[in-house]
Amino acid sequence: MSTTKTVANRAIKARAKGTPDRIQKDIINANAIVDKKIVKNSIHHVAETEELSVADLPQGDISVPMNLWLDHKAELKKRGGIVAVQIAADEFPEDFSEEYAEISSIVLPMVSHVDGRSYSHAYKLRTRFNYDKEIRAIGDVKYDQLGFLTRSGCNAFELPEGENIETALKAFTEMSDVYQPSTDGGALIFSRRRAIH
């Protein structure tokens, strides 16, 4: 089987698998928020480990680490159902620009909600690579992160067990105006004022 191990610009920033920046255990949630609505969730997010192989993947809808996708893309594409691909906080979206046409949805696993790198990833995916399919934030993602993650380009979320997902929907309406552009159609405040003058 041919692998696509050597993506042109990937070698520069290749990192060890299973670093603390990646999720350490599989994540399976019953519900998700997609486009601001609660839906049943079917995706099993597979953690990146040294031993991870295609043969070990669970049945059904999954998301896999980018490294697995790069190494076993052909096999993964033959599976039925959703095969989403994870971009970890310490990976760089520009290293995978040739992949996005083939990736049906992207998952941004957040090990800690105080780590803001995934916000920049989502922003770049939407603005620089014009990625218009689902971008889903998982992991340590709670009510108070949803607003800015949405502005930055995420449109789907899974909250950890124990979080009140109905209450969290309020996050989308908390702030009714913005000062700066992002991926959500917000305009720079000065250009709006310019239009009035």
Binding site: H113, R117, K142, F148, E174, M175, V178, Y179, Q180, L188
Partner: protein, 552 residues
């Protein structure tokens, strides 16, 4: 000054309600203390030794009389009747109750104030020159640029969870009073050969545990590009800054690790993707913003005032205040007045509710109802008619706000230290008092002249000790408070970090050690040399020998 429009009001009001919701979810047990912590910090609320501390934003240090009264009211109603002005030109209240904070923020929003991003790992209050608009050496008024950056950086969704806090300063004058080389980003105005206004951009400066002088990342950035260039720097920092060790997470560590040239290349590459995009500013944007900072309606006056001149001869206290606390103004017949918050026996930067109310009234009557907060923890009345100086002095003196010690050893910068702060290793306020008591002879103070004395109670350097002409750092040695001294730091144009004097000094000897340093200076100075100049000429050794003479 800047006035909120409907957008500003909506954002601040929504933000208050958002925080009210977070606090009530916390009090109802739905939001853990751990998860609340970064959210409350981004609303200025810390947990300190005894209680919460609320830091309210004063953008670039500019505050109206109405706002000052509101701050006084907060201190009366929710705190213990005083506030503490900070080196970031903000104000802190040391005793609010968590449950009251949403109401405090709502009260403040009524006078167009907030506490957004005054703490947490995000873009903090934009700081600037406290003499903006009135300095004789001003090239461009920095305030419109500060306000533009303030709005762009407020609740920026992508840069809310940075590796560490991020501070931006802007200066528009020849003399740098905003310490731009000690900020994560420092913008220094430059007008180029074709009269185009832009900025020299410094990056990666800062104090804290690892003091670093900022490096030039761009010699000339046209003013229309300030937001996009800042965004490029922030994005590179957000993605590449270290997150594994909070002491190595500031942008200065990243810039040093990459080297300024590689860092610049990375920023320029990032910038190229969107430099001519929607963040580009137009001339009209600057004009619109400048209109919020008009030249006040000055009277047409001549310089000098006979009555003031006469009183300077008659009253030595007035003369001392005039000579030390007032500064030349760009407009004939006006002077800049510094209000000293360094009264003997009072914690540096503290003001009572009554003092804040009085200052508000004095500003209203004599200075176009505006006050500035300086990064040296004093206040400024920027536009006082010379003919009113005597009345202003009397009014300030009645409130114990006319201590004639601006720029002297007694005009110390000082963090809250061990008395309030959970990070501190040693107390600062008590040492400040010790030094105050030692140097209580004003004639001697004036003879010594300008000495920037800056003290921090721990290596986080909130008191900017690295850039004090004399710096004092509190350290913990086996449970005892000791103090390390430095000499020769400078936060202005010739930026320099202080040189270590030697081993740490016991608490009760700090005042004597300062005395020794100043004795050496008085012995060997030539002409009009300040302590800093003498140090630059002779180095650390003569000071060291004297301070440690008893040990040898």
């Amino acid at each position: 000054m800047y006035k909120y429009d409907a957008v500003d009001k909506t954002i601040v009001a929504d933000r208050v309600e958002q925080f009210r919701g977070q606090v009530s979810r916390h009090l109802a047990g739905e939001l853990s203390a751990t998860d609340l912590a970064p959210l409350r910090l981004r609303n200025g609320l810390y947990m300190q030794i005894h209680a919460h501390m609320l830091r309210v934003s004063i953008p670039y240090g500019l505050v109206s009389s109405e706002q000052m009264r509101a701050l006084a009211q907060v201190s009366r109603q929710y705190d213990k009747g005083y506030g503490h002005f900070t080196t970031r030109q903000n104000i802190q209240f040391n005793w609010p109750e968590l449950a009251d904070v949403p109401d405090i923020l709502q009260d403040l929003s009524n006078v167009e104030m907030h506490a957004i991003q005054t703490s947490g790992n995000c873009i903090r209050n934009i700081s600037s020159d406290h003499y903006a608009g009135v300095a004789t050496d001003e090239i461009i008024d920095p305030r419109p640029y500060c306000e533009i950056i303030r709005q762009w950086s407020t609740l920026h969704p992508e840069f809310y969870w940075l590796p560490r806090k991020f501070k931006i300063a802007v200066t528009g004058a020849t003399e740098d009073r905003a310490a731009v080389k000690f900020h994560d980003i420092g913008l220094e105005v430059v007008v180029n050969d074709t009269k185009q206004v832009g900025f020299r951009v410094y990056v990666g400066g800062g104090l804290g545990r690892t003091p670093v002088i900022g490096k030039v990342i761009k010699e000339f950035l046209p003013r229309e590009d300030i937001l996009s260039y800042c965004e490029a720097i922030l994005r590179v920092y957000n993605l590449h800054g270290r997150r594994d060790n909070k002491y190595k997470a500031r942008i200065k560590i990243l810039v040093n690790a990459m080297g300024i040239d590689d860092f610049r290349d990375e920023v320029e590459a990032e910038w190229s993707h969107f430099k001519d995009g929607e963040l580009k500013l137009h001339d009209i944007d600057f004009e619109t913003m400048q209109a919020f900072f008009p030249k006040p309606a000055y009277d047409n006056l001549n310089s000098g005032d006979d009555r003031v001149a006469k009183w300077r001869d008659l009253d030595s206290r007035f003369k001392a205040w005039y000579d030390n606390n007032t500064v030349e103004h760009i407009q004939p017949g006006y002077r800049i007045v510094n209000i000293s918050l360094k009264e003997h026996g009072v914690a540096p930067g503290d003001a009572t509710d009554a003092q804040m109310d009085a200052i508000a009234s004095i500003a209203e009557q004599y200075s176009f109802a505006e006050i500035r907060v300086t990064h040296e923890q004093n206040l400024v009345l920027a536009d006082i008619r010379e003919q009113d100086l005597l009345e202003v002095w009397k009014a300030l003196d009645a409130e114990r706000l006319a201590t004639p010690n601006i720029g002297s050893v007694n005009d110390m910068i000082c963090c809250p230290g061990l008395d309030f702060c959970s990070l501190a290793n040693a107390s600062s306020i008590s040492v400040a008092k010790q030094i105050n008591e030692k140097f209580n002879d004003f004639d001697e103070l004036y003879d010594i002249g300008e000495v920037k004395l800056k003290m921090s109670g721990c290596m986080n350097a909130c008191g900017h000790h690295h850039v004090g002409h004399i710096g004092i750092l509190g350290v913990d040695k086996k449970g005892e408070e000791w103090y390390q001294l430095t000499v020769g730091g400078d936060a202005t144009n010739n930026a320099a970090l202080g040189t270590h004097l030697g081993k740490a000094i016991a608490k009760d000897r700090v005042g004597d050690a300062i005395g020794d340093i100043l004795d050496v200076y008085k012995d060997i100075r030539t002409g009009d040399e300040r302590l800093l100049d003498t140090f630059r000429r002779v180095g650390i050794d003569p000071f060291k020998e004297k301070v440690y003479a008893e040990d040898s």
